[in-house]
């Protein structure tokens, strides 16, 4: 292909110059069609494309013909129909009177929620475990090793069943719920916690939090510039903590310090009010995090061990403090080794979240499964499931690739 293109370019170039390159013409006219690698290459490409098109056409037409023969409904009109089934938990308002499209969206958000929180917790726990595994303290080291070996080697589905059974078998019924501190209840319906009652001031607090993050980013940039120029350092970390806590706190004080709480209370069968973390969500999150963190721990350990000891010694020799050695020398180099396998663990966690269906958490697969069953449109439903997980995976990969590039070795 490359040669063909370059031949063409030469020919076109020759024509432009007003000279026909006789040599090239002569050579190609002597070679028979089958022995010219360029022409043969095109033939193969066309052949492969035709074969692909044929198989695709065959599969699609066969499927449609079979669906029609069995008079199974097809198409996406069902998205506009009333779902008429309830979903156990949802971040957005949902009722059985809503459409299938909204039901699927609820499932999508539920998958997103458990994956997002799961990934963050996994990275934190995995990093701690990875560092603990390298600890010189015998007890910590062995505990981390035992944890990793146990959780890595038990199938995640069994772990999910275990945690789910743990929640509903061990914990008491709502009427006998544990109430360790005011406003917090723990029972087999989940963990129910009081939250501040809705007040417009909380929106402003969220806005100032974002503002604080932006200011911190700018300060960090400024401090780095100044350090490069003058060598003077600036306490970025403590300033950041101050800003993140201080700004929203000031907003709250100036907003009249609302203290009204939305406290859960037992009404009839279940608690009303407050925020409920269901046993299904908790079991799924716990199972996924504990399982995946074991793998992440090994990745972190490998990453740290990949940084040669000479780097640490050199850093200490030029007088960096232990914290600085970790932050400035070891972690930046270890991250290069850690990020690529970490990405695939993040993808694993997201995909494993589809096991939710076994323990009753209404994730995308669970909701889509119900939709498939009620409408009978399995092909469309499975297609949605594939597209959703593909989108999750591609977005995660894209983000991690960007981050990896940012962290990659910049040679000066």
């Amino acid at each position: 292909m490359v040669r063909f293109v370059s031949n063409c370019t030469i020919t076109i170039y020759g024509l432009l110059e007003g000279i026909v390159n006789k040599d090239i013409d002569n050579i190609s006219s002597h070679i028979s069609f089958w022995y010219d690698p360029d022409k043969r290459a095109i033939l193969y490409q066309v052949g492969a494309a035709c074969l692909f098109a044929f198989v695709a056409w065959y599969l699609i037409s066969n499927t449609t013909a079979n669906l029609e023969r069995q008079s199974i409904a097809t198409g996406f009109e069902f998205l506009d129909r009333e779902a008429s089934f309830e979903i156990g938990e949802s971040i957005i308002e949902y009722s059985a009177a809503d459409k299938y499209s909204k039901a699927l969206f609820v499932g999508f958000l539920n998958t997103l929620l458990v994956s997002f929180i799961g990934i963050i917790l996994t990275i934190i726990l995995g990093t701690f475990l990875g560092i603990a595994r390298l600890s010189k303290n015998w007890l910590i080291n062995k505990c981390a090793t035992a944890y990793i070996e146990i959780f890595q080697n038990i199938p995640v589905l069994l772990q999910l069943f275990f945690w789910y059974a743990f929640f509903y078998e061990i914990l008491p019924s709502p009427r006998q719920a544990f109430n360790p501190i005011a406003g917090l209840f723990i029972c087999n319906r989940g963990l129910i916690v009081g939250i501040p009652a809705a007040n417009p001031i909380y929106k402003y607090m969220a806005a100032t939090l974002i503002l604080a993050v932006i200011i911190i980013y700018l300060i960090k940039k400024w401090a780095k510039n100044r350090q490069n120029k003058t060598g003077q350092t600036f306490p970025v970390f403590s300033t950041s903590i101050g800003l993140i806590i201080g700004l929203p706190l000031l907003t709250w004080i100036f907003g009249g310090m609302p203290t009204e709480m939305n406290v859960p209370a037992l009404k009839g069968f279940n608690f009303k009010g407050g925020l409920t973390v269901s046993p299904e969500f908790a079991a799924l999150l716990l199972g996924l995090v504990l399982y995946t963190a074991a793998f992440v721990a090994e990745i972190v350990r490998a990453g740290i061990q990949a940084v040669s000891k000479g780097q640490t010694e050199a850093a200490v020799a030029i007088g960096l403090k232990p914290g600085q050695v970790l932050n400035l020398i070891i972690l930046p180099q270890a991250l290069r080794v850690i990020i690529p396998p970490l990405t695939s663990q993040m993808l694993n966690l997201t995909k494993n979240s589809s096991l939710a269906v076994a323990i009753g958490y209404p994730d995308f697969v669970s909701v889509a499964g119900t939709a498939i069953n009620q409408t009978g449109q399995a092909i469309e439903g499975v297609m949605f499931i594939m597209i959703v997980y593909l989108i999750f995976s591609l977005l995660t990969s894209a983000f991690m690739n960007w981050y990896n590039k940012k962290m990659a070795l910049v040679e000066r």
């Binding site: 044929f54 019924s173 009404k267 269906v357 499964g369 119900t370 009978g376 399995a378």
Partner: protein
């Protein structure tokens, strides 16, 4: 050139798969057994007994089908299916017939590409609650956590019922029946909802069955019927008349015990029914004595009912709607002629 040969084989295989779905009866006869989708975990209707043999009302109806086609009750292979997988399994041809306490509904009969056969159990949806909750009516269930199987009519009926009565429900949906039952017994839900017959079955597997009660409200109509793929009329006829034979036998007073005696009957209706007078078998493409063999092996509908779910079984179900029409029920067979 080897590549081309491989491709040629691939294309041929693909092309042949189009013609693989001929009539189900021919397929079944060619392979020598019927692949039956059944529940696998509902006592009395379809589960495995302690000897590892499938049993239940649905299973006996499937055996009647096996006798009709092959003359013996054992030419069956069972696939246990969840509520979510059952229809796809039938649509895709993984099973030949579905005997899995499925409710016949308009949308399943049309948009799902299925054909429901004759109803073999008339049911209705109810609620099972622990007695300690102290509630007497389904109307008291506002705010309750409800255990329900995903993808069932029960899931829709419960949502409808709570909506119609202005109550809130908190569904817990788990795909596997045993897992769902376990969560219910452990107190994850305040009630479990499904067809009343299944509630009776669930209660039998409770740690202490007397701690649970079925609420009086029956909130839906659930005609449970076997299903086949849409458009295979010949196969549907056979499934229909093998089950109807059980009902008709009860109507005529023919039982497992007296069927041999009945062969000598002078009643032309009985002679025609048992195949002494020929005609019925040929019309369906079966042996003339298929009804005789079914009754001789399994008994009539009443006997099957009492054996699997009746008052002397742990399920303790009354005939109710499932009594013969002459006894005030709905079981009615068209004449066999």
């Amino acid at each position: 050139m080897k590549l081309f040969k491989v491709l040629a084989v691939c294309v041929t295989v693909l092309a042949m798969s189009t013609f693989a779905m001929a009539g189900t009866l021919e397929d079944v006869k060619a392979k020598g057994f019927i692949q039956v989708g059944y529940n696998g975990s509902v006592a009395g209707f379809g589960n495995v007994n302690e000897k590892g043999v499938e049993q239940g009302l649905d299973v006996d109806c499937a055996r009647a089908l096996s006798i009709a086609v092959f003359g013996t009750p054992d030419k069956l292979k069972f696939t246990a299916l969840t509520a979510k997988t059952r229809f796809t399994a039938l649509q895709s041809g993984e099973i030949d017939v579905l005997f899995r306490n499925c409710t016949q509904t308009l949308s399943r009969d049309s948009a799902l590409g299925l054909d429901f056969c004759v109803v073999n159990y008339y049911d209705g949806q109810g609620f099972l609650v622990p007695k300690e909750l102290g509630i007497k009516s389904a109307k008291d269930l506002d705010g309750a956590s409800v255990c329900v199987l995903p993808g069932t009519t029960s899931e829709l009926n419960a949502a409808d019922y709570f909506r119609a009565n202005g109550m809130k429900m908190n569904p817990v949906v788990i795909e596997s029946t045993p897992e769902l039952n376990k969560a219910f017994f452990a107190g994850r839900c305040d009630c479990i909802t499904t067809d009343a017959s299944q509630l009776a079955a669930i209660r039998t597997v409770a740690p202490n069955p007397d701690d649970y009660m079925i609420l009086p409200e029956i909130i839906s109509k659930e005609p449970l019927a076997p299903a086949v793929r849409h458009g295979d009329n010949k196969w549907k006829d056979i499934v229909n008349y093998s089950t109807l034979a059980l009902i008709n036998a009860e109507e005529m007073g023919i039982t497992q015990a007296n069927v041999d005696f009945m062969l000598k009957s002078n009643d032309p209706k009985i002679k025609r029914f048992l195949g002494v007078t020929k005609g019925n078998g040929k019309a369906l493409g079966l042996d003339e004595d298929f009804v005789y063999k079914i009754i001789k092996t399994l008994g009539n509908y009443g006997e099957i009912f009492e054996r699997n779910v009746g008052v002397n079984t742990p399920l303790k179900l009354e005939r109710g709607l499932n009594a013969l029409w002459i006894n005030g029920g709905l079981m009615y067979s068209p004449p066999f002629k």
